[in-house]
Each structure stands twice: as C-alpha cells, then as structure tokens.
C-alpha cells in the first residue's frame, strides 16, 4: 500500500486551524528559523481517514481474530473501559495542576482514582504500598530493582548478583544489568520449574535478589516458592515478583503472602488495558514494608479530612522515575474494570484463564509434545518437535494458523523449550473458539504427516508473503525522506 507521503497533493488540507484573531505581530530572527517547511503530507480528512482505515485492515487484532499469543495475555478489551478513559473531566486534566500551591484541590477526582487503585492492588497482592508511576512493565522492573539497590545501599550490603531463571522474560536480565548487577541464570528442572539444587548452590552473600515470574513462562506454579523465598531472605536478598502472570492466580495466591518483597503488575494482562499495537502500557510497582521507604515520589495520600494530596517528603525515596503519576488514562481503564468485575469477577478471570489453557492442553497433548506433562496455569507450552522431525517447524505451524484466521501462539519462546509453541487463550475466549483452534492445530499435525510440503510458502492469504528480514537489517531503510 502507498505511504501517506506518496498520497500528498499540494494545497490539499485536512484540518482547519482556529482563526488568528490577534495581529500577526510575533517575530523571530531568521537565524532561529528552519529553512524549509516540515514536509508533512497534504491531504484531505477523507484521504487520511481512508488511508488509516485501509491500513488497519492489514492487522490481526483481538477484535477481529483469536489471538492466543502466549505470555502476552491478549484478552478482550471492553469498550466500556475505553469510554471511561475518555470522560472529559479526566482526559483534559493538566498534570501540573496539582503542583500549584494547594493545587490538589483541583484534581481530587484523579487523585481518588489513584488512591483507590493503590488500595485494591495492595489487597489483591498482599503488598503494603504501590506506586502507579512506572509507564510499562519493564519500567516497573527497573523501578523495583533500583529500590532493591537502594535497600542494600542503606544497609551497607555488598551485593553483585541477581538470580534469574532461564525461562524468564528478556526484560528481567536486561533490567538487572542496567541496574548494575550481574545475572546468574538458573536452569529449569525436568518439571519445568527452577532447579532447586542448582539454585541452592548459587546462593551466597553477594546475591542481591531473585526475579521470578510465578507461574513461570512454562505456565507452571512453583510449589517450593516459600522455601526459595526463605533461602533468599537468609542472605538478606530481595524477592522480586514479575507480575506478568499474575492473571493466573487472582484470589488463589498473593505474592506478598508467599515471600515476595517487591513486584510489578502489567495492567494490560492482569486487568485489561489495550495493547495498542505495542503500548502504551502501565506497570504499577508494589512493595512490602521493607522496601516502602524507597518508593518513588510523589505518593498519593489521604488526609484526615478525607481529601487527597501528593506527598513528596520521603527522605529515602529513590526519587522521580517518571514525569508525573503514571499512565493515568490506562490506570483509569483498570480502575473501571475492577469496579465492574468486583471480587467475584476478578476470581473468575484466573479460574477461566486456567480452565481454558488446561482444556487446550488436554485436547492437543496426544499430537503435540508436552515438555512438562502436568497441570498448567493460564498458559501451556508445547513443543513442535514431532512435527519438526517431519520438516514442519513451529514457525511453519504459526504461518499455517494465520491462513486459518488465527493469530499464532508465541513461538521460540521460552528459550528453554525447542520448537516451543506457547498458547495463552485467556479467560475471555469461549469454548467454541477454543474448539476451532484445537481443530486447526490437529489439522496442522495431520498435514505435517501427510503433506509436509504444503507448509512451504505459507501464509498465502495475507496482504504480504514472508518478508526478507535480512534485507531489512542490511539495507537499512527506516525513514521515507532519506531512503
């Protein structure tokens, strides 16, 4: 499809600026001015609307397709949450208003949302306090690990290492490294959880902490979690809970009760805020009493008269980690979602996410190898190794599913399983949809036996065929104007 710049026609206009009702008296010396106009396209509103409508149709999305992308939690995003975030009294609110003298009185509604959300998140996770500021899950991780470092510094601890299982998301080791720690990677055992004996052998006084997703990226809950926490705490290490999979255990288990000291929540996974084609996200971070003094500022407090305020006065705080109070419009969607679902609905989120994943596992395990044949939580990891022996790899199955109108599961992650196919159906999908998916997967297996050559050159129904990624990297073209 043509680029927006290629559709430009001189003097065509798509938007009328407010009138200039004052004298054109503003002047700036030419040495401060750009030499040429900014070459944005010139289009009518209809041109622009049609261009982006057509582009949108080239996407798979939750609204249009089943999207069982493991580890990403592609659940339905209620239209109601979108409407909530667009209420003008919030959407048009300037973030500097509460920073005026006594300015908090001008934003009481917004502060109440942040305050209530913090209370609910604490109750859901067993943490003592939350900051809403981190702008994404990985940003939350960095915030959490900086608090971990501040804790050790305050206690005079000499720490060098953060332990991360080999099944972890890439953000965990990347975050640990950016925060100045070396990482120790722990292999998974035959049951798909962190190898307990290896872990034990790696723990020493220089261990700053451990970062863990629980259930992990194999979709498995580690039943030894309390013992692990004990070992880490014995060397004054900090337990970091990567909340990427919190959506599996709502109402069943709380990180704060099983030994975790700090955690983040990905609001798009636990609740439902749209993925947006890759963000924006929100990654609130919770801490127990041990790390509370180090929380970023500002913090939202409730005063004795029942009004809300921003408090910056915390001596040990790590400081500002974001410009304002978090990605507010996303937090507001989470707030609306929690109020709508309530306690019963939130418990049902995890119950049905886990039920759906186990159902898929049960229906496909005869044909697709299960590296860990046990009950799973909200997602299940298969290996396409049997199919790969026939020349049909995980990526081929992914492309086959695309032609069936299904977004592929995550393939080749986690790195611990060869030919991995990671399926996360989420709670919002019905049995009808799951059955259709199962049928497609079984058909893919059958084709791999009878007609493996068929997978060559898939997908066939998409706007483009497989792109040349090597060319993209070698002959870099990332900007229309200098190609």
């Amino acid at each position: 499809m043509s680029l927006v710049f290629e559709k430009s026609v001189d003097q065509r206009r798509g938007y009328k600026n407010p009138a200039l009702d004052v004298p054109a008296a503003g002047k700036i010396d030419a040495k401060y001015l750009r030499s040429e106009d900014c070459p944005f396209p010139e289009m009518s509103e209809l041109d622009v609307v049609r261009h982006y409508t057509q582009l949108s149709k080239l996407n798979f999305s939750i609204d249009t397709h089943f999207y069982p992308l493991g580890s990403c939690t592609m659940k339905y995003n209620p239209k109601f949450c979108e409407a909530s975030a667009r209420v003008p009294g919030f959407a048009n609110l300037h973030p500097l208003l509460p920073q005026l003298k006594d300015g908090e009185r001008l934003t009481q509604g917004a502060l109440e949302v942040l305050y209530d959300l913090e209370q609910w998140m604490c109750e859901m996770t067993g943490m003592a306090s939350f900051t809403m500021q981190p702008l994404a899950g990985a940003h939350g991780e960095l915030t959490g690990v900086m608090m971990m470092a501040a804790y050790h510094k305050a206690k005079g601890n000499k720490k060098r290492y953060i332990i991360v299982p080999d099944s972890a998301h890439g953000t965990n080791p990347a975050t640990a490294r950016i925060a100045g720690y070396d990482t120790i990677s722990i292999p998974s055992d035959e049951n798909g959880v962190m190898d307990f004996e290896v872990l034990k052998s790696k723990i020493n006084d220089e261990v700053a902490g451990l970062m863990l997703t629980c259930p992990n990226t194999h979709g498995l809950f580690n039943s030894d979690i309390d013992k692990i926490a004990q070992m880490i705490h014995d060397v004054d290490g900090i337990m970091y809970y990567d909340g990427a999979n919190l959506n599996a255990i709502l109402g069943r288990c709380r990180p704060g009760d099983i030994g975790f000291d700090v955690m983040h929540i990905n609001t798009h996974k636990t609740f439902t805020t749209p993925h947006g084609g890759g963000g924006p996200g929100a990654g609130p971070v919770g801490v127990n009493k041990k790390l509370e003094p180090f929380l970023p500022v500002s913090r939202v407090v409730k005063k004795s008269d029942g009004t809300f305020a921003l408090d910056y006065d915390y001596e040990d705080s790590i400081g500002y980690i974001a410009s304002f109070y978090g990605n507010f419009a996303l937090l507001l969607r989470a707030y609306a979602y929690i109020l709508l679902l309530g306690e019963e609905g939130l418990r049902a989120v995890s119950d049905h996410a886990v039920l759906n994943a186990n159902y898929i596992k049960a229906c496909l395990k005869d044909k697709f190898h299960l590296p860990f044949d046990r009950l799973c939580m909200h997602e299940v990891v298969f290996s396409a190794k049997k199919q790969a022996e026939r020349g049909v790899h995980a990526v081929d199955i992914a492309k086959y599913l695309i032609d069936q109108g299904i977004h592929p599961p995550t393939v080749y992650f986690p790195l611990t399983v060869k030919e991995s196919v990671m399926v996360e159906p989420t709670e919002t999908e019905s049995r009808t949809t799951l059955d259709e998916f199962i049928e497609c997967m079984l058909q893919a297996d059958l084709e791999s036996q009878e007609n493996p050559g068929m997978f060559h050159g898939l997908p066939k129904t998409t706007p483009i065929s497989r792109p040349d990624e090597v060319k993209a990297a070698r002959e870099l073209n990332t900007n229309y104007f200098t190609q």
């Binding site: 009294g89 990347a174 996200g281 500002y320 410009s323 309530g342 049902a348 993209a472």
Partner: protein, 453 residues
C-alpha cells in the same frame, strides 16, 4: 453473569471432563494451602451504567473548566476529531507488538510513517518507533550517549525541564553515573557555564529548545565546542515549535528527544504520552526501542518489519541496549494521524498562530502595572513573567476567577518565587487573553489595596 466470560455451565463441565478433573479448584493443586491468600476483599462488581456514573461523578471533582495558560512542556492544543476516531479502531488498539509481520502491516507501516515524520520534523536521519514519554526518552538518550562514548558524566543545561532533571537525577544517582546541572543566566543557556563543565569524562551535554523559560536558542556553537571534545549533544524539543524553528539536525545535534503529547494526544493527567528519539544514522545500533524498517516480501512487494532486533532485550537479554520491551505504538499512531491531518502548510500555520497569540498576550501583560515580561530572548508560545508578589498567590486568586494563569517557577527554582511561565496555544482566543489580563490586573489591584490598608 460475570462480565467478559463466555463459558457456560455446560461448557465448564465438558472442559473439566476432558481435562479429567472434578472442579476448577483441582486445577490449582500446585498452589498449596500455605500459599493461599490471607485476604482478598475487593468491592462487589457493579453495572456498566453504575460505574460510568461513578467515574463521571469523580470527574466533576476535577477542575477542567479553567481557561488554561498552563504549559511547562504539556500543552492544551486542539485534537481534531478524526484522530480519536482512527485510533479507536479495534484493528489498531487491540493488536499487539507486530511480531508476525504478515498480519501486522497496518501497525508496521504506520510506525514507519511515524519515524519518517519525526525525522522530517527534527531534520535527523533516523528515529525509533517511540519511547514511553519525553522525560524517560531523555534519560534513554543520556544512557545511549554513555554507551557510545564510554564516558560516564552527563551535563545538563539548567534550562532543561526541571521535571526531566529530576528524572535524570534519579537514574544517574541510582545507576552510579555523574550528573552536573549548569546555571542559567536570565533564563538563557550560558555558554560560559556550560563550557566550564565540559571535559574528557563528559559523555553528553543535554539542552532544550525552547527551554523551560520559553527562550529560543541556536545551539550550533555549543554543538561545535562539544564535538571538539568528543562530547555528544542531546537536544530535547517541542514538536509544535519545530513547525517554524531551526531543526536540531541543522545544528548538528547528535540525539534528539521530545514529548509528543502536543501532536494530538489529550493531557490525560500525565499519560500516556509519547516519547520520541531521533539520531544520526551512524548511531542507530546504539539506539534503544523498536525500529521499523522497509524491506520486500517473497514476491518483491514493499513491506515493513521490526528491524535491528539484536539490540533488544528479547534477543540479547542482559546485553541489550535497554530493558525496554513495549513502546507507545498507539500514541505514535495518534501523532502520525495528527501530523498527516494538519499537513505541511497547516503545521506551519499552527506554529505561527501559537507565536502570534503568545506575542499578543506578552504585549498585553506588559501593559499591566507591576507585571514585567522577560525579553532577553526570543520566545515561541511560552514566556516568563515577573510579578510584584509570590506567583503562587496570584495563581490562587486567578483560579477563583476561572484561569490557570501559568506555572510558578518557585516550585522548581530557588529565588524565583515571583516568576511564572505563561503558555498560549491556538485554543486561546483574543477574548480569553483580554479577560485573563483584566483578571490579573484586578488581582494585582486587590493585592495592592490589601497591602496599603
């Protein structure tokens, strides 16, 4: 009915039978009794109507009817209706990161267009597909300069947003890098002050144009000096001003970042916003965040993919350029649609309208007894005003009269209690500005009367 769950009782029974367990509880057997929650008391679920009414009720506790002259890096620009209509398409907002390019060309092409627009705006060669917001983008630029130069001291001009300064201060302190902030003189970047701090340990000097006080500058001389010492220059910019202002590219700046909220995003009480970053082609492999590149498919037709992924955490893990996973794709799309709608001519007019309205406000304020408009530098749509008393006091009284009068500088700068910055966007009419000046005059007269009685 539990919202958004569609398994019926019969479905549940069928699924449990297939799995071979008796109840959903059985599926959670790996969670031992000692792991059970100590508490899980949350509010009861409510109806959609009920929750929406509650949210509207809370919204009424916010003051959004103030006529706003408040900026400070976040501006009350008009957002054309088509922007929200387009990003409300489920195909865009309910898709995820384009890991499967065959079914994500919509997102990928829009991001390529966005990168191109950011390059056009800034005069730079390459851009990434967005970062969280302007403040964290600036921090990422600082880290990027450290990776390129292998030096560990960051120098920041005092005219850079104090909000950004606080963020950089947090990360450099906690991640053990040196950070120096230089003094501004009369609201302008002081060359003497900056040059004093540039040395062989310095990885980058961070500048902002227009700066927090509203001053416009040409940083070419600072860039030349920095480059002599092997120091990179990072400039934080305000996109709407670049409709007319000299581009960082033409000043030979190395890394450009900025806050894209002004490009079609609502103020949203602080987020989500749009961080962007552009640089020279030679530094592209050191740049954090996703980058979309053009290529061809097997049939030779043009298409787009995420490229240079070997920089990223999901491939490189602990050796990645940044821990960033997500960006703000939807906000980038929002800005791209805005830039396409406003267009080449419209964008220049928008910038000129902002400039002229601010000039009108500047001249009108200058005529008020006791108000002194700072004129040591040219400005765009925001400028500094000195008042005879504490600016916070004035702000307070202006709010009673329905105006968010500006932002008091005393909040972040010692000794500047009597100063405020005033922003004027295209949304402010001549009448708004006249009313504002009349109200301010009234407030000042009232205060004088209080002092004399």
């Amino acid at each position: 009915m539990i919202p958004y769950i569609s398994n019926t009782d019969a479905d549940i029974q069928h699924m449990l039978n297939t799995i071979g367990v008796k109840s959903i509880d059985d599926l959670f057997a790996d969670i031992k009794p000692q792991h059970y929650p100590q508490s899980f008391n949350l509010p009861d679920g409510r109806s959609e109507y009920d929750v929406l009414e509650h949210i509207k009720h809370l919204a009424r506790k916010n003051s959004v009817d103030l006529v706003s002259f408040l900026g400070g890096g976040y501006y009350d620009h008009y957002v054309p209706s088509a922007v929200d209509a387009m990003i409300s398409r489920g195909e865009f907002y309910t898709a995820y990161t384009p890991y499967q390019p065959e079914v994500a060309q919509g997102t990928l092409q829009a991001l390529y267009e966005f990168q191109s627009s950011i390059c056009a705006l800034t005069g730079m060669e390459v851009s990434n597909a967005s970062l969280y917001d302007g403040g964290t983008a600036l921090y990422e630029a600082a880290m990027m300069s450290i990776r390129i130069t292998r030096r560990n001291k960051i120098v920041m001009d005092g005219g850079v947003s104090p909000i950004y300064r606080k963020i950089i201060d947090t990360y450099t302190k906690n991640l053990n890098y040196k950070f120096v902030e230089t003094q501004v003189v009369h609201g302008q970047s002081s060359r003497d002050e900056i040059f004093k701090h540039l040395d062989k340990d310095t990885s980058a000097i961070i500048l902002q144009n227009p700066n927090f006080f509203g001053a416009i500058d040409d940083h070419s001389d600072i860039v030349a000096r920095a480059h002599e010492l092997g120091i990179l220059v990072i400039q934080s910019v305000y996109p709407v001003a670049l409709g007319i202002l000299k581009t960082p590219g033409s000043m030979d700046v190395d890394i450009v970042t900025g806050e894209g909220q002004c490009l079609g995003l609502p103020l949203n009480f602080g987020g989500p916003y749009l961080g962007f970053m552009a640089t020279k082609k030679k530094y592209i492999r050191k740049m954090p965040g996703r980058i979309v590149g053009q290529t061809v498919d097997q049939k030779g037709q043009r298409c787009f993919v995420n490229t240079l992924q070997a920089r990223e955490q999901h491939i490189r893990r602990d050796k990645a350029t940044s821990n960033i996973c997500t960006n703000v794709s939807l906000c980038a799309l929002q800005a791209q649609i805005y830039m396409a709608l406003v267009g080449r001519q419209g964008f220049k007019e928008l910038a000129m309208t902002n400039l002229h309205k601010a000039e009108y406000a500047r001249q009108s304020l200058d005529k008020i007894d006791g108000v002194k408009v700072m004129r040591s530098s040219p400005t765009f749509n925001e400028f500094t005003v000195e008042l005879p008393v504490d600016a916070s006091t004035i702000m307070d009284r202006m709010i009673e009269r329905g105006f968010a009068a500006g932002f008091p500088l005393g909040r972040y700068y010692g000794g500047m209690d009597n100063y405020m910055i005033v922003a004027v966007t295209e949304k402010r009419t001549r009448q708004d500005i006249d009313n504002y000046c009349a109200a301010l005059k009234d407030v000042l007269t009232g205060l004088t009367a209080e002092v004399t009685t």
